[in-house]
Each structure stands twice: as structure tokens, then as C-alpha cells.
Amino acid sequence: MNPISPAFSIGKLVRQTLWYFSRRLIGVVLAIAVTTAVLVGTLVLGDSLRESLRHQAIDRLGAVDDALFAAGFLRQHCTSEWQKRSYVYSQIVPIIRVAASLENSSGNGERTARANGVQIIGCSADFWTLGVAKPARHPQGREIVLNEKSAELLHAKIGDRIIVWLPVVRGIPAESSFGRRADVVKPSAVAVVDIVPNENLGAFQLAGSQEISRNAYVDLAWLAEEIDQPGRANVVLFSRKAEFSHDTGRALAELEQLPLLPEDYGLQITRTRRGYLLLTTERLIFDPVTEKAVTSHLTDLEFQRVFIYLAERVTSPDGEAWYATVAAVPIVSDPPFGPFLDMAGHTVSTPAEDECVVNEWLAERLKVRPGEKITITYFAPETQGGDIRRENASLRVKAIVRLQGAAADPELVPEVRGLTDKRTIAEWDPPFPFDSARVTREDEDYWARYRATPKIFVSPKFAEKYWASRYGKTTGIRVLPNDGLDEQTLRARLTLSVGELGWQPQPVKEQALDASQGTTPFDVLFLAFNLFVVVASLLLTGLLFVLNVEKRANQLGLVRAVGWPRTRVLLWLLAESSILTAAGVLGGVLLGVGYAQILIWGLHTIWLPALGTPFLHLAVTPSAVILGILLGVACSFVVTAVMTWRFLHFPPQALLMGTWATAETGGTSPGGRYGQPIGILLAVIALLGAILLAGVGFVGDERTQAGAFFGSGALMLFGLWWALVLWFRGWLRTRAFVRRIAGLAVRNLGRNPTRSALSTVLMGLAVFLVISVSSFHMDVSDRGPDLTSGDGGFWLIGESDHPIFSNLNSVDVRRSLGLHEADLAEWKNVRIYALRRRAGEDASCLNLYRTREPIVLGVGDDFIARGGFRFTSVLKPAQGLTAGNAWELLKRPPIIDRSGVIHVPAIVDDATAKYALQKWRGVGETFEIVLPTGKRVAFEFVALLDNSIFQGRILIWEQTFRELFPDVSGYRYFLVEIRSSDVHELNTSLVTKVQDFLEKSFSAEGLQIVSTREKLRALYAVQNTYLSTFQSLGGLGLLLGTIGLGAVVFRGLVERQREIALLRAVGFSAGRVHLIVLLENLAVLLLGLGIGVISSLLAVAPQLFSGRGHMPWQTAMVVGGLMLLIGLATGHMAGRWVAHQPPAMGLRRE
């Protein structure tokens, strides 16, 4: 019995083979490790980004889960009432949140440092219990705590005194003709008592952006007093109990039911002397949502809507009167709302739309009788560009009523600070134009006796037609106190819920987590950047693996000869490849984590413009590692399998004799008899295709051009490379014989066509990608703004923290700001377009968070008429559209569909639509937001801008903007056009002067102006950084490939020792042999470089011819130079080594 057991198997053969050839196979394992490292690294980077965004989003919210944004200001105290009855929430904290500008001139003679767009948070000590970061002590009174970001901008330290420009909060909308537009901000001096880190509540932010918010914290009570809202807050923060942390539905349901007392939503209830209850609002006019909510609780009561207005002047043919109150109210007979009795004692009814009822005082003043006409001059309900417009209406006097009873009710008129609280009319401090000289003694007598009692009564229909605005059409609601209804009962009845008033609680934490998913798939992006590294390492993997197999070709022939079927041979090779792959992949995982860390370092330093702020931290997730492993395994396995597949089809005797290589060079050609013609056809088609595509590019626009030429270059690269492959295989070779050393070197490239082909494609592809991708580089023209470019012809762009109401094109306004006559003449060609701006999230490429509510801009008629900018696509123009002006499409009125969604035409930047808002189809797509009132608005994209300054914003018509967002007053976005017949002759110092002047004039409003060129550069910086990253990593891949190629060259020479020895034996000197090897190496490098350069030049042809764009000559020269240097160096070392081997050694058979 033989003691030796049959332990020999395929598995053992595989192990022994790998162990025996392990030194040769190290390179394969390393190449696989590199592939896997890149894959794992980029996937880990993607997860790190998502995790970093998520962490940032959660960290800066602390324990805040939900937030309620009041339509105005509500009592702070109501939150403690809510807390007592809350089932879901463990903490309810009121704050005031306003935007402000800060100034610090504490720096001992240094210039004042400013920080605009600072989020001022007025909070109590309770706020800090929502997080872990807190100041040393809570600020009191005139004290402020800054976060590091704000402190850095202000160059502030503890103890500095800074100025905070706080908004002045007024109830009446500023753009109402009865609202105040001057002094919208006021300075408050405060002392810095602490600086908190930019983390946790120190970076408290409700919007999604990776940029650290500029925050400042003050005492809630102090801030409320400063902005004239004592005891109030405008935001309430909610922290859920642990068991409800994921139950958003339950939480919001409770929130929506929270009660708001009338004073919380600005409602005032007064019992009048006439006995009815009057409801008025701090805003002067009821907003439609509040009015509807309130009246819905009065349906079982008798009530009337009242609309009080002011006529600046009332005239008749025989008289005039100034500053008369007009009331639009149904005239009824029953008290207390009526009766209105005419001079004959008859009751008067509601006048028709073209009629009015005047009281006896006015009738006498105007000397009118019933049937005669009077003209009312009034201020239009809304201002235009800060200007109050006057309008007229003629009405026929229906009746003259006695100044008594219901007709002499001064309480119809709501309290208006500066008017109704003044003793005399002359003391009025109104927000509208007022000429006290017009006030007569009779007027003052009337005021003294009757106060603001209406002198004219019109129909509610008239008032609605002429005086209704986006702010509303009701100044008061009179309620008949039936069945014992009193103020307290009415107050209780009108205690409404948050949901009834349309205040939308927001699940801010959930929204932040959703937004943190981001829009930029960094893993996919960086995988694309690293594509060449992956391709290079895969090619190297294949090259090195196949080298090993080639070396053992006789073994494959042997086993086939002794009867192994092809499948068995395949099994052997695949088993080897699997083990190598496994080893490489495992090593690659460890390297991959390191690579991810390196990429993060790169993103925090040289590629920082892509992120904006260095906030990434490494987060290795199992899913990234597993996916990276799977991809690494799949790619490597496929490559090794593909590379070795052909060995299965070589005849066994060819493998045994080593003549299989000859089969590739024109003998038995792969692909059979049709292989050669098909191969040649493929090359011809590719080259012709390249030329055709280039032709397409010439006739297309810039974007089409870039794509077409890039595609053309890629086809050219493939065609040229394929022609090389055919030449290596001998299918294109001539019959001429080699006469020179260089010819011999070039002919030697055909020894191993596969190896030569792979080497040249490695070089060519890298060079092509590194150079041609620059065709997508974006740059700002040095030629100045252009109407049809991304800057639309504007020199400057500005944004303010607070609204500006003045018409900045008005000579009077400019003069009032301090411009002298000489300056005014210079400013004649300066035109400023003011846009409305609704706060929101930046949806540009600068923001990595997913945007839920982008910033919305409202463009006026002047801007639309001007036109300009460049569009990538425009909806088919509707009838009546001015030829070529896509902006006109914005003027289509909103359409409300059956489900109540308001469809609004909008224009956005192409990149914003597709990448930030993920609306890939572009024109025709809609993006929906939900307004605080609960209404849904769908912005329909009617045109897409091309690389414009409006990236990240949605633009709609100003008129639509005012209807949708009535609470947004004034202008906060400005574009400055400076017209000149010749842009080059334009005095650019004027541009600087305009910029400085405007910033200085509106520094309190926080106006910050930059050049459009600077703005575009900042936007382009992201894409350009991505391109640079791609080029850097592509260059890295190229160098990797070159080094690997050196290894391949060296291995190849080891195999050719016999051949080299023969050359030495027939008289070639060592130097000559060295030269042959060097020339072979150089030939591969130059061929690869050549096809890469030719193809890339085609790809960047538009840039070359137009002089536009950024040509990376430097990068190309450095990369190409390094490639040649390393390639020649390795070739030199290998050639030197092989040339100096003793010939006898090489000639020996074994």
C-alpha cells in the first residue's frame, strides 16, 4: 500500500504556480490594489461627503426638531403655555431671528470691518440648552456673542464694541402707500462678551448650506425692545421627546393645533362706543389668509368688513378738501352699524360702485348736492420703486348724510401710529406726501371733534376695485355682539390654531437631513476624475498578468497537448486570477481608505473652491467598502479573464513551440479570414466619423461645439490607435525591409502587438484626456460685459440685507444720497436695475446641500424689456413675444390648476435647473415649493440661461412676485449697467466709483457689490476646479501608467535575452543594443504621445481658433515632459542592463 495520498489537484496546482511565480505576480497584485484603492477611495469620499453634510446639518440644529415661523411676531409667553399642554415636545423655545449687518471700528485706527448677512439670534438662556456649545455666559442687555466666523470677518475680539444695524419692524407693509420706507434699519452699539466656535449652536442655521453661517447672539428681551416688538418672537423652536423623534406626522399634527391668541397674530379686539366689537390688525390691512381664518369663525354672527382709505384731496367744481378719510362699508339701517340718515331724515343705503355718500361737513366744504360729481385723488395702494403714485376716481354723490350716529363713527378707522395718535393734523408724521399748508382751520376743527371720522362712504366693490392690493382689502371687521358676546368671548372664539392661520410648521431636522443628501454625487464625480487612474491600473493589471501567462505559454500548450479541455485550462487561469484579485482587492481596501483621506486633504486645500469651506471628515462605511471590493473584483477579474481568453484559442503546438506570438502578426489572425478587412474598415470608419463630427461642431453653438469636438477627438484617438494596432499586427505593413537601427526598433514593436497596442493606448488616452478636457474650462472674458453673455452686459451685481426702496436711477434720489452735479453728469449712463429677492437657499454649484426653497428674484418690466443674456434653450415663444427676447415669457400670468397649485413661468440657469434642482429635461420642467400659507407654487421653466450670474436663483416677473410674496418689500438685488459706446474706452474708475458710492450710501442696509466678472469667476471656479482635479488625477494616472510601462518593458527585455545575446554575438556593441532598446521605448512613447496630441488638438480646436478658453499648455508640457522623462529613464535603465548581460548567458538554452 503506497503511503502517498492523491493530494494533487487543480487547487494545489494553482497554489504552487502562484507561489512559484510570486515575484512576477507582485506587480499584478499591486495594480489590482491600485484599482481597488481608487474605487474604494472614491466611494468612501462620496459617503464621507454625505456623512459630513449630515453631521453638519444635525450638529448645528442641536436638539431642534421643528420650527414655527410666525407671519409676524407672536408673544414669547405663549410658548410656555404650549409647553404645559404639549405631549410631543420636551422643549419649546422662542427666538427672534433677523438679518443684520455688523460693523467693527475698534481696531485702533484700522478701517472699519463689516460683516453683512449676519444672522442675529435673540434668545434666552433656554436656547443654549438645545445644544452642547454655549458661551461662557449668556449676553445681557447691550452685549453680544459672536461665532468665530462673524468674529473673523469683523476682526473682533472679546471686549470690542461693535455696531449692529437692526431692522426696524413695522406692522404696516413698507410698500403700502401707508407704510414707512425710510429708516428701515437702526444702529445699536453692543459689546462682544464671548466668541463661540463654529459648531453646534454656534453655527445654528436653518437653511441648507455647507458655508458656516455668520451668527451673532443677543438677549431676546433686549432685541425685542430694540426692534419695537417687546415680549415677542418671530420663530419658535421645538425639541421632541425621544419617543417622538421619528414621528414627524404626530409632531406636526400637534404643532398645527397649537393655539394662537388674537394678539399673537396681530388681531386687536375693541368694544366701540356704538356697541359693536371691532377687529383690527397691527398691519392696518388684514392679509387674506388671516381675514379668511377669522371670518370663518364668525359665520354664525352678523359682521361687516370695513375698508378705510385716505383721499389726499377731494374736489368738486366749487370746492376742495384735503386728507379726508373714506370708508367702504355696507350701509344698513339697523344699529349699531346703521342707520345713515340723509339731511331729510331718510335712511340711506349702500351706494353703487360709481357713487358715494358724503357727510354734511364735506358736502358744505365742496358745495355739492346729490347727483353732482366729486373727484377723489388718492395714493395708489402700493408704491412703485419707492415712489407713491396718485390716482383719481370720479363718483356721483348719492346722498348727503348727517354727521351723527353711525355716520359719525371715528372708531371705524384703525389706529395708525403717526396719524390717529396725533392731537392735530398739523402734527401728523405720515409716510406719504403731506403738505401741512393744505390743512385749514376747519380741518383741524373737524379733527378735534370727530377725529378721523370718515367723510365719504363708498361701496365695498369700489374699494376692492381701486384700493385692494396684495396686502388685502379689509382694515376692520365689525361684529354685532349678539347673545351676550363680549370681548372675552370673542377673544376665545378667535383663538385660532397655527394651522388655521396658515402658519406652516417645518420639520427642520428632517428637512436638513433630506437636504444633506446633496445634489453633487461626489463619489461618481471623483470616480470620473480617477477614471484614467482606474483604466491605467486595469490595463497594467492585464498587461502584467498576460506577461506572466505568456511566459508560461508552453505550460498551457503542454496541458492542452496531454488532453486538458479548454474549460479546464480556463479554470486554472481563472483560479489564479481570482486569488490574485482577492489579494489585490484586500490590499486595495486599506489603500483606498488612505486615498480617500488624501482626496479630502486635496479638497480642503488645492481644490477648496469645489467645496467652499473645509468641512469634510472621513467616514468609512461598510457599504462603500463592500461596493468598492465588488467593483474591484469585477473589473480586475474581467480584465484578467479577457486578456487570457485568447490563449485558449491558440493551437497547442503553437503554445508549445512559442510561435503563438507570430500568429498575431499576420499569420493566423484572430477573427479569421474576415478579421483583417473588418479591422481596416473599423479604422476608416472611426477616422471618417471624427471628421464628420468635427463638421457638426463647426455649425453648432458653443456648447454643441465643445461636445462635438471632444467626441471628434475621441473618435480620432480611437481611429489612430486602431490603425497602429493594425500596423503592429502586420496588416498594414509594407514589404520594405529594415535598413536602419531605427527601423529595426520600430519593427520590433510588432513582436508583441498586444503589448505595444496597450502601451500606446495608455499614453494616448492619458494625453488626450489631460489636454482635451480643458475645452470645458470656463473663463470670464477680459473684454468687459457683453449683453449676450453670462453677465448680460452688467458691470456690477449687489445684494443687501435690508430692503432698499429708493429709485436709484432718479436724479433726485442720487442727489439726496450725496452726488454732486458733476457726478450726476457722469452717472448719466449708469442705470441700476433693482430686483426683488425672496430669501431662500442658494441653488448654485456653490451649495452642496439639496435645495428645497431656492432664492427667488422678481424682475421688473424694465429688465424684461432690456433683454440680454444667453440661453441654452427657450420654450417655443408664444404669440406676441418680442422676437428673440425670452424674458417676455415671464409675463404670462400665473395659472391655478384644479388642485390649487399656482403655475408660474420662471427662468433659471441651465446648471441650476439640471444639477441643483435635478430637473434634467430643462425647459418645460417644474419645481415646486410650498409657501408659508400652505399654497403650492410650481415654477415652470420657460427658458434656461447659459452660465449666467443668476446661477442658483429662480427668476420670475416682479408683478407675479408681489402677488406670491406680499410680505417681501423693497429691493435687495441690484444690477448695474454702465453704458458706453466703446467698452474699452469706458472709464473703469467709474465702475469702482459707482461700486464704492453705492456700498457707502447703503452700508446700513448691508449692500455689498461685486463685479459680475468676480461673481462669474466664483461660479466658474467650481467647475474649473473639477476640471483641474480631473487633469491632476489624470496626470497621476499617466505617470502611474508610465512607471508601469517601464516594468513591462523590463520584463519584456528579460524574455528577449536570447535575441539580445544573438545581436551581441553577431557584433552589435552594447551601446548599439542599448540604443535599439531606447528607440523601441521612445517609439512607443512618441506614438502614444502623438496620437494623444493629435486627437486632443482636434478636441480643443474651437478654443485654439477663437482664442477663448484656457489651454493647459503648461500642464500638457509638464505631463508630457514627465512622461517622456520617466519612460526614457526606465527604458534607459532596462536597456543598459540587458545590453551589458554576458552574451553567453543569453545564448544558453536553459
Partner: protein
């Protein structure tokens, strides 16, 4: 009894000039127990004839029939089986796997369809003993002399007890003395196994050891000393 019949065999290679006809209507028949040496100058087609008989190459015309089966018409899988079970190759270059031991090299054909069994191992050991290498079983090819390696190759060729042994210049890389030993071994084993032995050689001396000879010239086979 195995019968090998070569019928009207023709092999033509395409070339840039005229096609090269290396085998032109070659015909012969051999049975178990027969052995023959095929002589001829370099490039005369000797190895080609051997490769066609062994199923490593395809004829342009004609056929090879072994026990009624036409080798040239076999599908790939069957051809592999034919080479594994019916044919045993001995090459000029032994083509031993350097990463395997002597024993494992002999057992390589057994891996064609599974793993070698105990019987296979026993037979391999017996063969190695027979060729005088029983003490080198665990050595690797790199530790053997040229003659020893060729003897391993011979053992490998016999592991499946094939009906045909095809040896292509088996002593071509060996010195005269070693070559004689190897040649003698081949003959002895042939006699013991009663298979068909065909040896291709340009060595008259080796041909003499084999016995029956034929010569391949201009594509035609001419029998000598029949």
C-alpha cells in the same frame, strides 16, 4: 489491438509565395506492438505528421483513423479526450512544469478531468521507478539533469496507458549517451506496454534503435528496411 490508419494525408501551409505542401498523400497503417522511426531533414514535415496523428493539428486533406474513429473529424472535447487517453506525447523540450514535483508532473494528464486517484498515483510511482527515478519523486525539474527530465516526460506520456506514444525528437536536446539511454527506455516501455510507438527524429542512430524506419521527403513517405 489498436489500429492506426493514416489515409491520403495532405497538409498545405499558405505562404506569401506558393503554398507549402509538407505532406502529400501520406498513407500507412500501424497496429499495437508496432514501432517506427520517421526520419527526414529539418522542415520535412515529420513533426507536422506527428501533430496530426496526435490531434494537435488538422490535415488539409485525408484522415487519421484510430480504432475506427476519425481523429480529424472529432469535435474539440472528444479531441481533448483522445489526446488524454489514447495518445502520449514526448516532446523534444520536456515541458515539465517547474512549479510541480516530479510525481506531480507525471500526474498532470490526470488533472484533465478531476483529480488523480490513488490508482493513478500508484501507477505514476511505478512508472517513475521503472524509469529509474523513484528516489527523485519529490524533486522539482530544476533539480534534475536533462536526461532525468526527459525520463519524467516519458513517464508522463505513459500515465494514461495510451495506445499511441508519439515522440518528437525525444533525444534532440540530450548528449549521445543520455540519448541512447532514453531511446532504449522508450523501446523497452513500448515492448512492455504493447502500444504503437512513433518516433520522429533526424538521428539515424536513434532510428536504428527504434527499428522500423521510414523517411519523409518532399511530402512523401518512403519506407525503409521494412
Amino acid at each position: 489491438m489498436t489500429v492506426l490508419a493514416v489515409q491520403g494525408l495532405k497538409k498545405v501551409y499558405p505562404s506569401p509565395g506558393q503554398p507549402l505542401c509538407v505532406l502529400n498523400n501520406v498513407e500507412f497503417e500501424l497496429r499495437s506492438g508496432d514501432r517506427v522511426a520517421i526520419l527526414g531533414p529539418s522542415g520535412s514535415g515529420k513533426s507536422t505528421l506527428l501533430n496530426i496523428i496526435g490531434g494537435l493539428d488538422q490535415p488539409t486533406e485525408g484522415r487519421v483513423v484510430v480504432d475506427g474513429q476519425v481523429v480529424s473529424e472529432m469535435p474539440e472535447r472528444e479531441l481533448s479526450r483522445y489526446r488524454n487517453r489514447t495518445v502520449g506525447f514526448v516532446f523534444q523540450d520536456h515541458h515539465l512544469l517547474p512549479q510541480c514535483t516530479v510525481l506531480e508532473n507525471v500526474l498532470v494528464p490526470c488533472l484533465a478531468s478531476g483529480s488523480p486517484q490513488q490508482d493513478d498515483v500508484n501507477w505514476a510511482l511505478a512508472l517513475l521507478d521503472r524509469v529509474g527515478l523513484k528516489d527523485r519523486v519529490w524533486h522539482r525539474p530544476g533539480e534534475l539533469s536533462g536526461g532525468e527530465r526527459q525520463r519524467v516526460a516519458i513517464a508522463r506520456a505513459l500515465i494514461r496507458r495510451p495506445a499511441l506514444i508519439l515522440a518528437d525528437e525525444p533525444t534532440g536536446n540530450l548528449d549521445r549517451s543520455t540519448g541512447e539511454q532514453v531511446a532504449q527506455l522508450l523501446v523497452e516501455l513500448h515492448q512492455e506496454q504493447n502500444n504503437i510507438l512513433i518516433v520522429v527524429t533526424h538521428s539515424e542512430h536513434l532510428a536504428g534503435v527504434i527499428g522500423k524506419q521510414c523517411r519523409l521527403e518532399n511530402g512523401q513517405l518512403r519506407w525503409e528496411n521494412v
